[in-house]
Structure formats: C-alpha cells, structure tokens
C-alpha cells in the first residue's frame, strides 16, 4: 500500500486540475483510502502528479522495426548505451532502441502504456516476442488489414458481412488490440509498382474496390464489432504536397464512423510540388474540429536523424529516390508491405521546416485536446524520447518564437505557427500525453487517477524548464510498483499485453483455410499466434 501526498494532481479525466491531494494505491490500483500498517508514503511536495503516459501511435517492435535496426548500425554506434546492471539488461537507445531499452526509455519519460501501431498478422508472433521483452510498459498493437488481399477480394464481391468476420478472425489470430489501415489499397497496388492516390479510383487489380470503399467499409466493420479503439487510419498520399484534399476527403468518406487519424502532420500539406509545399493546418484543423467522430495524433517532426518505417511501400520508394539513401523494401505476402529509409530532418530545409511547423500547428489549432495527441510517429518524425522537446514548444511561446527565428525566411510565409499565441497548460499536457490517448484507445483503466484505475502514476518536478521536467520523472509507478525513484530505474516489472477478442462466426476459418493454403507460404495452422505465447495477457471481450 502506498500514499502519494502533497503533490499537485493533474487528472483531467476526473476534472482535477492541479489540486493538492493524496493519491492512494493498493494492489496495483488507485483506491480511495489506505489504512493500517506498512503504508509507504511518497512526499510529492513541489511535484506534479500525472497519470502514466500513453502513446497511441509508436513503432517499437516487430518485423519492420527489426529490419530498420539491422539497416542502421550507424545509429546504434552513436546511441545512448545501457550497460548491464543488476536491474537493467544491456541495450542501446537511439533512433530504433533495442527491446529492453525501449521500456527503460519510455519509463524515463513517465510513460506506462504504448500502442505498437502497425503489425502484419504474418509477423505478429515476432512482435509479441519483442513486446514481451519490453518491460515497464503495458502494450497493445494494431493489425494491418487495409491491404489484405483476401479481405479486398471479399469487398470486390460485395461480401461485406463475411469480410467483417474475416477481419475479426485476423485480429484475434494476431492477438491484436485494434485494426490499422495504411494507405488503403496503395500497398496492394505497390505490388504492381503502382500507388492509390485517388480515393474514388479502383485499386490496381480490382474493378470495384476503391480506397474510399476500403476506408468506409473497414471503419463500419470496426464499429459493428464494437472494438474499443476505432479504425486506426494512415491516409493515402502521406507526405505528398497538396495531400490536404485527400485527407479531408478521407474524413468525409468515413461517413460518421469513428476513426483515429494517425500522424496527421504528414497529411496536412498544400502546394503542387516540393518547391511550393505549404502548411494547410488551419484548413485541416477547422474541418477536423467539426468531426466529433474523429481523433488524431500529431506525428510531429523534430530536426535531426530519424529512420522512416512504414507499411506504405510506394511512399518509401519515393523517399528513397528523393534522398538517395538506403532503402529497404519488404513484401509481406498477401497482407501488406513495408519500407525503411533513414532520413535526416534539417532546419535549413524548406520542406522540413514546414513539416516541423505543421506538427505543432495541429496540436495548437485543433481546439479539443481530447482529440489530438502528442506523437512523433516514432521513429518516423523523431524518436519518442524527444517528446519533452515538443512539450516545451507547446507550453512556452517565447521558446517557440526563438525556434521559429531559426527557420529559413522563405518558410515563414508558408506556415501559420508565428501567429499562434496559445500555450498549453499542464492539464492540457496531461490530456494529450495520457488521458486523451487512453480514451481513444478505449482503455478505461488507463490515463486517469480515479478509483479503480491502474496505478500507473508519474511524478515530475514542477520545473519551469518543461523539457527537463518531462524528460526526468522523479518517480514512476507501474501497476502500483515504484519503478523509477529519484530519477533512476530501481525496479523491473513486466508490462501486460492488452488483447481484444471480437465476436465472429467461427465458420470463417473454413472459408479462409483453402484460400490461405493456396496463396500463403506458411501452413494455416501455424498462422495464428497461440494464447500461451502472450505473457501477461489482459483479454477484453467485445461484441
């Protein structure tokens, strides 16, 4: 049993905004009061008390990330090293941290839950093995379905009901938590050397299936299955100048169904080409503000080295042609693809300067913090361990001005950031790093400090340097255990894996089996991830 006393508590989900009050913990949960002997008290005077951070969109495990790790030894050489100690396993940080180091680095920000946002069913087993080795955080993952050719074939034939059961079967087979759509139709088209840039045009190889149809049907299926997290959507035309039209059209096509718009920064550009690229964050935020069915994460970029990793194969090929750097491309059988290209965002580069501004503009212009969350699409826009830099930029308009002053002059007429005065409050930060994403993920036990919530609690010094503050939590509690104490990791606990079991017609397996055995290279019985592979599974029934 434990009592945190004297700290200013920020628990926006329960309307607590900086009130000094006690937080009591027993058996890994928040309770109203603790009594008796053996109660440990943490004096949190001068500190703020936050619910543990929740990352709604990150890439920390699985085939694509491992491919990126192998491709970028240069990033490991210069990375922060974790040497072996009685508490810690050895590892490296950097742009693609190793599994154990990923857990340490998230804990080092006060984060306790992460959502791995792109898992092909074919590499789900590998992903879970890596997630098992990622300590200190609870994990969930989204399963890539929008380019699954068996599912698209069903949409072509108009069999949406069967497609829904197929989708649910795959989600459970992968032991996933949510459904992800990446460049719907575009990754399938990439296998023909094409992309899907127009939402209303049939996808290569199909006559009736269009990106719009995939988006609207899948969002409807996710809603009908009553999954806790809406469809997690990476729109078509990521990164392309002028893609604002596609993004807004996508939001319209959803027709009121729920969706989480991933890394919106990469989808908010105007202009016709790289020379005329400009920010369209005002237009996007205005439209988004009127769509209560949607949530989004920022996908902000920061200047420096990164590795771009995505299932969006055609975009990665374009990025490789633009940069001339290394390029990795994977074909994941009938399900999806994957591309990896190392990238360096430069403050002197006009396009990068606009991207930097757009990420912050979206966070500042979307008026409801409950619907826009802090992410960098790690490791695409920047590494997750750089989140405190973004918090500083959001909370301090003076600091933001200093950074804007360093941008190339030509960039200033293409962005809106210089005219934005808004500063985030601590309560709003608590929303965008914890309470909001927990709500979007449909995790009622996360992101707040109400009675019955998981005792994931971060204590930060109330430091005017917000970057230092959020980069060095004084204490972190994970499931009631004190894992970070006085800034050091003191105790290792394994996180749980959050898994969703949707309801579906089991006969779908008999439909799928012959198709699978005809088109896949592996045996059908080896495809689903067995439950005993998932350590610390927390299964959520739905439907």
């Amino acid at each position: 049993m434990l009592r945190i006393t004297g700290g200013r508590v920020f628990d926006p989900a329960n309307d607590i905004d900086g009130e000094v009050r006690d937080v009591c913990i027993s058996d890994g949960r928040i309770v109203a009061e603790v009594e008796g002997d053996g109660i440990r008290t943490i004096d949190a005077s001068g500190m703020v008390v936050f619910p543990g951070g929740v990352d709604v969109h990150t890439h920390v495990a699985g085939g694509a990330l491992n491919f990126a790790r192998a491709m970028t030894p240069e990033n490991h050489r210069d990375a922060a090293k974790f040497t072996h100690s009685p508490e810690l396993r050895a590892g490296v940080g950097g742009t693609t941290p190793t599994t154990f180091a990923t857990g340490y680095l998230y804990a080092g920000l006060g984060y306790t839950t992460v959502n791995e946002a792109a898992v092909p069913v074919l590499s789900a087993r590998h992903t879970h093995e890596e997630l098992r080795d990622t300590p200190l955080v609870d994990k969930s993952c989204c399963v890539l379905m929008a380019n699954n050719e068996i599912l698209l074939d069903l949409l072509e034939e108009g069999e949406t009901e069967r497609a829904k059961h197929l989708l649910a079967w795959h989600l459970w087979a992968a032991k996933g938590y949510g459904v992800k759509a990446v460049n719907p139709g575009g990754v399938t088209a990439w296998k023909w050397g094409k992309d899907a840039k127009v939402l209303s045009e049939p996808v290569e190889g199909y006559s009736k299936v269009t990106p719009a149809k995939i988006i609207s049907s899948m969002a409807a299926m996710v809603d009908e299955l009553k999954l806790p997290h809406p469809m997690h959507l990476h729109c078509n035309n990521l990164g392309a100048p002028g893609n604002i039209d596609t993004t807004i059209e996508t939001m319209k096509v959803l027709g009121g169904h729920r969706a989480h718009m991933a890394h919106l920064q990469f989808h908010s550009y105007g202009g016709d080409d790289w020379d005329t690229l400009r920010s369209e964050s005002v237009q996007l935020a205005e439209f988004f503000n009127g769509q209560p069915n949607l949530t989004a994460d920022a996908g902000a970029i920061l200047f420096g080295d990164s590795v771009t990793i995505t299932a969006d194969g055609p975009w990665q090929h374009l990025l490789y042609q633009l940069t001339g750097r290394k390029w990795g491309n994977l074909d994941v059988e009938n399900e999806t693809g994957c591309g990896v290209v190392p990238y360096t965002y430069k403050g002197t580069n006009l396009v990068n300067a606009v991207q930097w501004a757009v990420g912050l503009e979206l966070l500042l212009l979307i008026d409801d913090p409950w619907r826009i969350y802090l992410t960098t699409d790690h490791p695409n826009g920047a590494c997750f361990w750089r989140y405190p830099e973004i918090i500083q930029l959001l909370m301090n308009v003076e600091f933001r001005r200093e950074c804007i002053a360093k941008l190339p002059e030509k960039a200033l007429e293409r962005i809106h950031l210089p005219g934005i005065e808004r500063e985030y409050t601590l309560s709003e930060i608590a929303i965008i790093i914890s309470a909001g994403p927990a709500r979007a993920l449909g995790m009622p036990q996360k992101g707040h400090l109400g009675i019955g919530a998981d005792a994931d609690v971060a204590l930060y010094n109330d430091d005017p340097d917000r970057e230092r503050m959020f980069g060095h939590p004084r204490y972190l509690l994970k499931g009631g255990e004190v894992v970070v104490e006085e800034g050091d990791i003191r105790k290792m606990v394994d996180g749980r894996e959050l898994v969703v079991r949707p309801a579906y017609d089991e006969s779908i397996e008999e439909y799928l089996r012959p198709l699978f055995e005809q088109y896949y290279t592996m045996s059908f019985d080896n495809y689903p991830v067995e439950m005993e592979r998932i350590e610390g599974a927390d299964i959520r029934e739905c439907g």
């Binding site: 491709m71 970028t72 030894p73 240069e74 990033n75």
Partner: protein
C-alpha cells in the same frame, strides 16, 4: 615522452582507447599506470600489460608488437603517437589532429572516419583505410594517410576529403562509393572506383578497369604539380613532368554520377 613497452602478447585483443596523447598529456605516472583497458570483457589496468616510463607528455611511444591492440590513438586531436612495431585495428579512427607513426604493419580500419591529422605506416596496412564505418554516410573528411607497403580491401570507402597514399598494391574496391578526396596507388586489384560519385584516384601503375569507366583524354593535370610538391614533403613521389609521361583520364562510375576521375600514369616511351 611517455614510453609503454608491451610485456606479453594478450590472448585476445586488447581495446585501448586510453592510449592517445590527449588522454595521457596531463597525467602523472601512477595515473597512467591505472588507466583502464579492456581484455575481452574484463577491465584491467594499463600496467598489467605495459611497462610504463615517463609522465605528462603529448609524445607517446609504444614498443613491442601491438598488432592485437585496437583503437590506439582513437579520436586524438594533438601530439604524437609513435608505435615501434605493429598496430591493431581502428588505429587513429575518428582522429582529429596530431600525428601517428607506425614502423611495422597495421590492421583494418586505420584512420576510419578521421577528420584531420597525419598517419604514416612503414609496413603494410589492412582494409578500409580512412573508410566509413558500416552504415555511415561518410568516411574520412580530412587528413592524410601514407602507407609505404600494400593495403587491403575498400581503401577510402565513402571518403569525402583528404588524401590516402598506398605505395604498394591495394586490393579490390579501392575508393568504393567515394565522395571526394584523393587516393594515390602503386597499383590495385579489381573494381577500383566502384560507385564513386566524386573524387580522384591516381594509379602509378596500370590497373584493371570497370566497364563503367570511360576513357576521356591523356594529359598532365596542372594541379598535380602543386599537389606533388606537398606530397614530396611526406616522402611521396608523384610524377607530373610531360617528359616523363602522361596520365590517362577515365571518368566514372557511370553506374552512379560519372563525376569521379581515375588517372592512370603512362610513362613516356
């Protein structure tokens, strides 16, 4: 001067990043004796493997066969490191200034990603001289490396600036993905200049050419007169007089930019 004499050959290579003039310049005798070195995964004191003489000097001399000692002079910025014998891998890697003199042979990756300074090797060298480490975009960005003997694979891989001289033969893939700078060779084996984007490779003997290098002209580049004078001070003799012969210029690699140049010396007569 500080003198370190190797007492015995280690069973496995020693990693001795501490052995650079920058580290020892301000240290007393006892502090030098206590410097950490790594034998495999074990951390040991320097004096477990070396007799240490002298203190607080930018002149560091290592005596004995240091062929199994890695990272000598890593990242050094000043002073002089003299090795009376052989040296191991990564000698002078990330070096920024100062000089390294080795009387014997050295292993791979010497001067890798260096940005300044001078390395002179009396014997033969291994591969990846002045190269980029695996995955890095650029190898050496300045400085000079002179090898009296032969060299191994991938000499100057991805180098961007600076000079590498190999008086003997270099093995395959010299100047691989080169981005700039100059490599002077006494001859080379296969695929010299493969994927080179820019930069100059000068061979004083005929070499096999890749089909993606096209003959341009025969001439005596003016810059060589000036360059040869600089190099003469380092004991490197590069011919440039028309009476002695001409250079054949080949441009490539056409598989990438075609902006690199390969100059092959043809003696008169």
């Amino acid at each position: 001067m500080i003198t370190l004499t190797l007492k015995e050959q280690p069973g496995v290579p020693i990693e001795a990043e501490a052995l650079s003039p920058d580290v020892v310049a301000e240290l007393g005798h006892d502090e030098i004796c206590a410097l950490p070195i790594f034998l495999g995964k074990r951390q040991l004191r320097l004096d477990e493997f070396f007799e240490v003489e002298g203190e607080a000097s930018e002149e560091l001399e290592i005596r004995g066969d240091a062929g199994r000692i890695k990272w000598l002079g890593r990242g050094m910025t000043r002073g002089h490191l003299n090795i009376d014998g052989n040296a191991g891998m990564h000698l002078g890697a990330f070096m920024k200034g100062g000089t390294i003199e080795v009387s014997g042979n050295v292993s791979d990756w010497i001067g890798a990603e260096m940005s300044g300074g001078y390395i002179h090797i009396g014997g033969n060298a291994g591969g990846q001289i002045g190269a980029a480490y695996r995955g890095s975009l650029t190898g050496m960005t300045d400085g000079t490396i002179v090898v009296e003997g032969s060299a191994g694979l991938e000499v100057g891989m991805r180098m961007k600036r600076g000079t590498i001289v190999v008086k003997g033969m270099a093995k395959d893939f010299t100047g691989l993905e080169m981005k700039g700078g100059t490599i002077i060779l006494g001859g080379a084996e296969l695929r010299t200049g493969a994927w080179m984007n820019r930069g100059t490779i000068i061979s004083l003997a005929p070499i096999p050419l890749l089909p993606t290098f096209a003959y341009n002209c025969s001439y005596n580049p003016i810059f060589l007169r000036i360059y040869a004078r600089e190099l003469a001070a380092l004991g490197v003799s590069v011919p440039f007089e028309e009476s002695e012969g001409t250079y054949e210029l080949y441009s490539g690699d056409a598989a990438v930019s075609r902006k690199g140049e390969l100059l092959i010396w043809k003696p008169a007569g």
